[in-house]
Symmetry: C2
Subunit: 330 residues, 2 copies
Amino acid sequence: MPGAVKMPFLILAVDIGGTSFRLALADERGRILRRGSGPTRPEEGPERLLRRIKTKVEGLLIDSGTRAMVKGVGVGAAGPLDLESGMLLHPPNLPGWHHVPLKSMLEESLGFPVWLRNDVDLGALGEHRFGAGRGFQQLIYLALGTGIGGGVILGGQLLSGTRVSAMEAGHMVVSPGGPRCNCGREGCLEALASGTAIARRAAERLSQGERSQMLEMVNGKVERITAELVARAAREGDALARQVLQEAGEWLGIGVVNLILLFDPELVIVGGGVIGAGDFLLEPVRQAVKRWVVPYFEREVPVVRSRLGGDSNLVGAVALALDEISATTS
Amino acid sequence: MPGAVKMPFLILAVDIGGTSFRLALADERGRILRRGSGPTRPEEGPERLLRRIKTKVEGLLIDSGTRAMVKGVGVGAAGPLDLESGMLLHPPNLPGWHHVPLKSMLEESLGFPVWLRNDVDLGALGEHRFGAGRGFQQLIYLALGTGIGGGVILGGQLLSGTRVSAMEAGHMVVSPGGPRCNCGREGCLEALASGTAIARRAAERLSQGERSQMLEMVNGKVERITAELVARAAREGDALARQVLQEAGEWLGIGVVNLILLFDPELVIVGGGVIGAGDFLLEPVRQAVKRWVVPYFEREVPVVRSRLGGDSNLVGAVALALDEISATTS
């Protein structure tokens, strides 16, 4: 008799952000077959969120037979996490949540094995397995959005820390005495190169009377400036928008150079909501690498855009579950 | 018949610095049985240095029978190294040396298998196996001397990068626009908290007319100030010396906090020639960790002195060889 036929199976992925959660049902090759989403509403507490997630999951599994094919759930959430216990410690994007045992709560609610990681770690894993980092063994992934997060792949695997999720790259201090960060310190990378920082810097310069089409784009209301809007203005030729992105890119360049000197990656991938700024942001980073890393390491380290875009974390959650399943069945 | 008796064996260790090299003959438990040393004289080139090392090694192996017990040689040298080919790329402390195939040259010269790593990586490995880091799975080791180097142990193993030695912690930029570093950039950690930086800062402040017993200690010749002398003056109660170490310690604290946020270690070990400054340097680092890491990770990360002192690198070279031998025989 021949060996047992390997049955195809499915993976669920959940990405929990500060304002919304996203779901995916994916196959063994990381392809997303169905999607779902809903609001997070952190003020209502974890139990209600879990109920909303469960309802959406049931919607994805409505066909008879699909549920039986699901082997587990990969879940991403903002750190810091206690990986051993599967607990959210005090995620800044879920205010009021403290020590929520998310892994066990989700396992009980959904009835599948659950694997939990920092969302940006999952972004790194997603890009490594199915995106811009395919075929590389060592890479750094940075997600630029409201904040800055980072993930590291070394030897083809996510770098794992002792207890909490590692690589809080956004809170690397690159300019002591610089602008104040949400973490309370001054001069964190996140306070200089995140989407929040880009929007704030553009608003500051407009308030000082500098001219730019951005002002018309928000009808004179500078508080409505977002990093996405700065990126759009830059693409349309606005000089001030380009300068703001250039400056943010130079700070990001210092952060990226520091990370390369510490982790010695083959590739740096930049993703997250701000990456629409493209080369206006990445070219200064490449210049910094060319100037400070290449002469020292005697080789190029490319800095590229993420390929999965908004799906990096979700696809990474699929990859996490696939890894865990393959580790237990092989 | 019972299993074959496991024969005891010996390891040679070589630590190549910019001014001198050091040798050790050690047993399987990392204990140094015999020592040797000699001048490096980089201007004479690698061939002559290798001849001097060979002569000293022969001196250590003079007993008949000892040579037959040696299973290999662990070697440390300053980076950047190409680990795959065992080549020194362009070590700043060996000026004029470019692309020296040290591993193969030593193997040919000494007639034993040779394993080569960055000297500070070996310091980390030495402290992990036989020093202050025993029993920890994740730690960072920083060596403060002329420059600042760092090594990382994760999961009980040295972090390995793609090609060159990783963790150039001294060139992490923590103060753009700060003092110029030997690497050409401004504001590297090394330019603010190394032995060189401490001596320079003390000399600057003395030249500006500040009072201190350090001036008498060098007979008014401020160019003779060393970090060791600043440390001694601090221990003897000198206020300026203590201030200089406090400032250097605060910068070191920023670097250590950044490293903890990136690598999430259980322990930070500080060693190298400057560590005689002890708590005058380490207390500001501990304060920085208490202020910026503990609330975030919700646990303490101790910052301690190295236990092997000047032998960290040499003992680490022994540990490297032991690891490699155990990997091939098990």
